[in-house]
C-alpha cells in the first residue's frame, strides 16, 4: 500500500502571531510543521512499521523552505518527498483550500496514485479544515475526518472519529480514501540524529506550481486582518451579592 501524507509549513505553534501591514507578519517568524500534519506523518510511518504500507510519500506546498518541513517528515520515517514550489502565501491570504485540494488531486490522480491520503485535520494558520473534504470530493472517494484511531480492516480501514456527540466508528471499505487526523490519534515521535542524517539522502522532487496548469487564484477575497481586541482584566468581587449584581447588570447573563 502506498500512502501520501500532506505536510504544511505554518507559523510555529508556540509563536505569537502579529499583524503587520494589514496582514499576518511572516518575515523573520519561526515556521514549523503544522502539528496536525505531524500526527498524520506519525500515523503513516506507524502503518509502514506494521507492514500495512510499503511506501510513504510526503507532499508539501509552499516556498523553498518547505524542503525543511519535508526533511522533518523524512526524518520521522517517510521515504521520499514532493515539493510543489510556490511563493504564494499558503495561510489563506493567497493560496486557498480549493486550489490546494486541486494541486493534491493532480498528484494523487495523475502521478502517485496512493491508496491512502493522510492529512492533518486543519492548518493552525487558516483553521479551515477544508482541504481533506474538498480533495475527497474532487477524487470522488471516501473521507473520514477528525480521526482518533485508525486500524486496518479487510482491504480498508476502521476509523474512529471524534464528534461533538461522541465517538463514531466508520469502516472505509474501498480505497483510495482520505483520512484527516485529529489530536488524539497519536503522539508524534522526535526526529533522532541518525534519522536526520539519513533523511538528507532521501529524494525530494520539486515541481513548480505554475507548471501544473491549475488556476490558483483565491476565490474568497480577504477583506481585513486584525488582532483580536485585548482581553479586559478580570475583576474580583467582594461577595456573592456583588457577583449577582455584576452578572445581572453588567454582563447581562442573568434575568
Amino acid at each position: 500500500m502506498k500512502i501520501l501524507v500532506g505536510v504544511k509549513r505554518v507559523v510555529d505553534y508556540a509563536v505569537k502571531v502579529r499583524v503587520a501591514q494589514g496582514t499576518v507578519e511572516l518575515a523573520n517568524v519561526k515556521q514549523s510543521m503544522n502539528p496536525f500534519c505531524e500526527i498524520a506523518v506519525e500515523e503513516a510511518v506507524r502503518l509502514k512499521e506494521s507492514n500495512i504500507a510499503k511506501e510513504v510519500i510526503a507532499l508539501s506546498i509552499g516556498p523553498k523552505q518547505c524542503t525543511e518541513t519535508l526533511r522533518t517528515a523524512l526524518a520521522m520515517g517517510c521515504d521520499r518527498g514532493i515539493h510543489i514550489q510556490t511563493d504564494l502565501r499558503t495561510d489563506y491570504m493567497e493560496l486557498q483550500p480549493l486550489a490546494i485540494a486541486k494541486l493534491f488531486q493532480q498528484i494523487v490522480a495523475e502521478k502517485e496514485k496512493p491508496d491512502l491520503i493522510l492529512l492533518g485535520k486543519q492548518g493552525i494558520d487558516s483553521d479551515c479544515g477544508q482541504v481533506g473534504p474538498m480533495l475527497a470530493g474532487l477524487l470522488q472517494c471516501p473521507q473520514v475526518t477528525f480521526a482518533a484511531k485508525v486500524e486496518s480492516k479487510d482491504n480498508g480501514f476502521l476509523v474512529e472519529r471524534e464528534t461533538d456527540a461522541g465517538t463514531e466508528s466508520i469502516h472505509i471499505q474501498t480505497l483510495p480514501a482520505v483520512i484527516t487526523c485529529d489530536l488524539r490519534l497519536n503522539e508524534p515521535r522526535y526526529a533522532t540524529l541518525p534519522n536526520i542524517m539519513k533523511a538528507k539522502k532521501k529524494p525530494v522532487e520539486t515541481i513548480l506550481a505554475e507548471t501544473m496548469g491549475i488556476d490558483l487564484t483565491p476565490r474568497n477575497p480577504v477583506l481585513q486582518v486584525m488582532e483580536p481586541p485585548p482581553r479586559k482584566d478580570g475583576i474580583k468581587v467582594a461577595d456573592v451579592d456583588a457577583l449577582i449584581d455584576k452578572l445581572r447588570n453588567e454582563a447581562k447573563v442573568l434575568a
Binding site: D12, Y13, A14, V15, K16, K30, A191, T192, L193, I196
Partner: protein
C-alpha cells in the same frame, strides 16, 4: 561599655573597627530585638494605609506558608507578622520604624531559594516583608533594551514583557514562574545562560535600595538609564548577592539582550564522561557564538524524570544503558541550546557540529519546532522538582573544574555513600548542572523518607565542602548562603576578607535587623 555598640553613629563604628572580632562577639551576645507590640502594629497599619490585605498576623495560614522554605528543610519557623508594602516610600517608612524599634526583618520575594535565606529563623522570629505587591514594570527603552521595574516583578512576567518588544532578559531559571527579580538580584542568580549573557550583576545598570534605617539609595534607577556610566563608586554591586542582609532592593534597571530570532535545542546521550567533554569542546568550536547553554543530566536523574511519567522523553536511559560502550555512571545526557539571529545560518552550524560529534555520541534528538524546544527545557527544569517529590534531598550546588565533575562524583559515591550500604531503591545520587559554566548540582535523595538522617548528613558533610575546596571549587556556585551555608564561610575566606564583610554589614545595618542569622556566619 555595651551601650556604645548599639549606637549607629559612624564615628563610633569606625572606632570599634580597630579590633572587630571582640566587638562583634560582644554585639551578638547582647543583641536584644524588641517584642512586637500593639502600637507597632498600629504604626505598620498606618504606613500601609490601613489595608488589611497588606498586614497579616502570625496566626494567618498565609503567614505559616510564608514561613516555610521551598525545600521544606527550614520551617515553619514562627514569624511575628507579614507586611506587604506597595511602594518604596512604604518600605522606607517600615524600615525606619523597625530600625528605631529594633525589630528584625526577613525580606521575601518568590521564596524559591534553596538555602533557607528568605524565611524566618527560630532564633529571631523575624517580621516577613514581602515585595510581591511591588510588581510594576515601569519602562522599557525599545531602542536600547533597558528595562526598569520594581523588585516584586515575577521573572517570567518580566521575560514575557521584554520578549514582546524583541528583548531578552539575561536571566532564566526553572523557578521563573514564581521567583521575583528582587530575589534574583539579592542572590545574584545564575541560571543556564551565564556564559552567553553574562552574570546578572554584570547586566544591572541601576538599583534602588532601602537601607536598614529607611534611607533610600538610588543608583541610576529613577533618573538615568544608561548602559555606560562611570560616575562614582559602584556601590550598588555590593547589594547584588547580599541576600537581603545589607538592604532591601526595591527597584532595578536591567540591560537586556536582543531577543534571538532562532532558538534550537538538542538532547544528546554520551557513553562516558570523556565523550561529554569532547562534545563540550566541539560545541564551543562549531556552534561558537550561538551556543547559549549546555546542561548536563546524568543517567540517575534522567531515569527518575522518565519514571515520573510527566514528560515524553526523547531518549531512554534504559535502552542506551544496554550499549556496551556505556561506562560507569553513564549514559550522560546533554541539552545543547543555541540562540542566533538567523535560522538558516544556525542550522548550517548545527549540521557541521552534528557531523563532527557523530562518533562521540550514542544518540541524540533535535527539536523540530518550538513546542519540542520548550519541552526539552521542561525536562531539564523538572530535575529539581522530581527529586524533591521523592524524598528528603541533600542538595549541594558546587563549582569545580569541568574535567573533574565525574571524578568528584565517583569519589563521593565510593568513599562516602557506598560505605553506608543503602540499596539503590532507598538512596539515590542524581546529578545535573550548567556544565558550560562549571556548575554542578549534586543531589542525594532518600526515597520515600522525609526526615533528615544524621548518618547521611555526617557522611556528606563537611566532606563535600572540603573536597570541593581542595579542588579549587566553590561550595555554593549560585544558590548562595542563606542559613544553610553561612557557617562554612570561615573555610572559604580568610579572616581579612571575613572581617571586611562584617565591617560592611556593621556599616549598613548596625542594629542587625536585616535578615539576621543569614549569609554571614553567626557566632556562637
Amino acid at each position: 561599655m555595651a551601650s556604645i555598640f548599639f549606637s549607629s553613629s559612624r564615628r563610633k563604628i569606625l572606632s570599634c573597627s580597630r579590633s572587630p572580632p571582640f566587638i562583634f562577639t560582644l554585639r551578638r551576645l547582647h543583641q536584644p530585638y524588641n517584642s512586637l507590640t500593639e502600637s507597632d502594629i498600629q504604626v505598620f497599619s498606618e504606613i500601609l494605609g490601613h489595608n488589611p490585605s497588606l498586614l497579616l498576623p502570625a496566626s494567618d495560614p498565609i503567614v505559616t506558608a510564608a514561613s516555610t522554605d521551598w525545600t521544606g528543610h527550614y520551617g515553619p519557623a514562627p514569624a511575628r507578622l507579614l507586611l506587604r508594602p506597595q511602594t518604596t516610600a512604604q518600605v522606607s517608612a517600615l524600615l525606619r520604624y523597625c530600625h528605631e524599634r529594633r525589630l528584625p526583618i526577613v525580606p521575601q520575594g518568590g521564596k524559591t531559594g534553596l538555602v533557607g535565606g528568605s524565611v524566618p529563623t527560630r532564633a529571631h522570629q523575624e517580621i516577613i516583608l514581602q515585595l510581591q505587591q511591588m510588581n510594576q514594570i515601569t519602562a522599557l527603552d525599545p531602542l536600547m533594551g533597558i528595562v526598569t521595574c520594581q523588585a516584586g516583578v515575577v521573572l517570567q512576567n518580566l521575560q514575557d514583557y521584554c520578549a514582546d518588544q524583541g528583548w531578552l532578559v539575561p536571566l532564566d531559571l526553572g523557578a521563573k514562574g514564581t521567583c521575583q527579580i528582587g530575589g534574583n538580584l539579592s542572590t545574584n542568580a545564575g541560571g543556564p545562560y551565564f556564559r552567553k549573557y553574562g552574570s546578572l550583576a554584570g547586566n544591572v545598570l541601576g538599583l534602588e535600595v532601602v537601607l536598614a534605617d529607611g534611607r533610600i539609595l538610588d543608583y541610576n534607577y529613577r533618573q538615568r538609564n544608561n548602559l555606560k556610566d562611570n560616575t562614582g563608586y559602584k556601590w550598588h554591586q555590593l547589594f547584588l548577592g547580599s541576600e537581603g542582609t545589607l538592604g532591601i532592593i526595591t527597584g532595578v534597571t536591567l540591560a537586556c539582550a536582543p531577543l534571538p530570532r532562532s532558538k534550537q535545542a538538542a538532547f544528546v546521550a554520551c557513553a562516558s564522561y570523556n565523550q561529554v567533554l569532547l562534545v563540550l569542546q566541539k560545541a564551543r568550536q562549531y556552534l561558537g557564538e550561538i551556543l547559549a547553554a549546555m546542561e548536563s543530566m546524568d543517567a540517575a536523574i534522567w531515569t527518575l524524570v522518565e519514571a515520573s511519567g510527566r514528560h515524553k522523553m526523547p531518549l531512554s536511559a534504559e535502552t542506551l544503558r544496554s550499549d556496551s560502550a556505556v561506562l560507569e555512571g553513564g549514559p550522560f545526557f546533554l541539552l545543547i541550546d543555541t540562540h542566533g539571529s538567523n535560522a538558516d545560518h544556525d542550522q548550517e552550524k548545527w549540521q557541521t557540529f552534528l557531523e563532527a560529534v557523530q562518533n562521540d555520541i550514542l544518540n541524540g534528538v533535535l527539536a523540530q519546532d518550538m513546542k519540542q524546544y520548550q519541552s526539552f527545557w521542561q525536562i531539564r527544569e523538572s530535575a529539581n522538582p522530581t527529586v524533591a517529590q521523592l524524598g528528603y534531598t541533600y542538595k549541594y550546588d558546587v563549582s569545580l573544574p569541568i574535567a573533574q565533575f565525574q571524578d568528584w562524583i565517583q569519589e563521593m559515591r565510593l568513599e562516602r555513600l557506598g560505605p553506608l550500604g543503602r540499596t539503590e531503591s532507598s538512596l539515590v545520587n542524581a546529578n545535573w548542572g550548567h556544565i558550560l559554566d562549571g556548575n554542578l548540582h549534586f543531589n542525594v535523595t532518600t526515597i520515600g523518607e522525609r526526615e533528615v538522617q544524621k548518618d547521611l548528613v555526617n557522611a556528606l558533610e563537611p566532606y563535600v565542602f572540603h573536597s570541593i575546596l581542595k579542588r579549587g571549587g566553590s561550595i555554593s556556585a549560585e544558590h548562595g548562603l542563606g542559613q544553610a551555608k553561612n557557617h562554612l564561610l570561615p573555610s572559604v575566606h580568610n579572616e581579612i576578607t571575613l572581617d571586611w564583610m562584617r565591617s560592611m554589614k556593621a556599616l549598613l545595618d548596625p542594629k542587625m535587623i536585616l535578615n539576621p542569622g543569614k549569609f554571614l556566619p553567626v557566632s556562637s
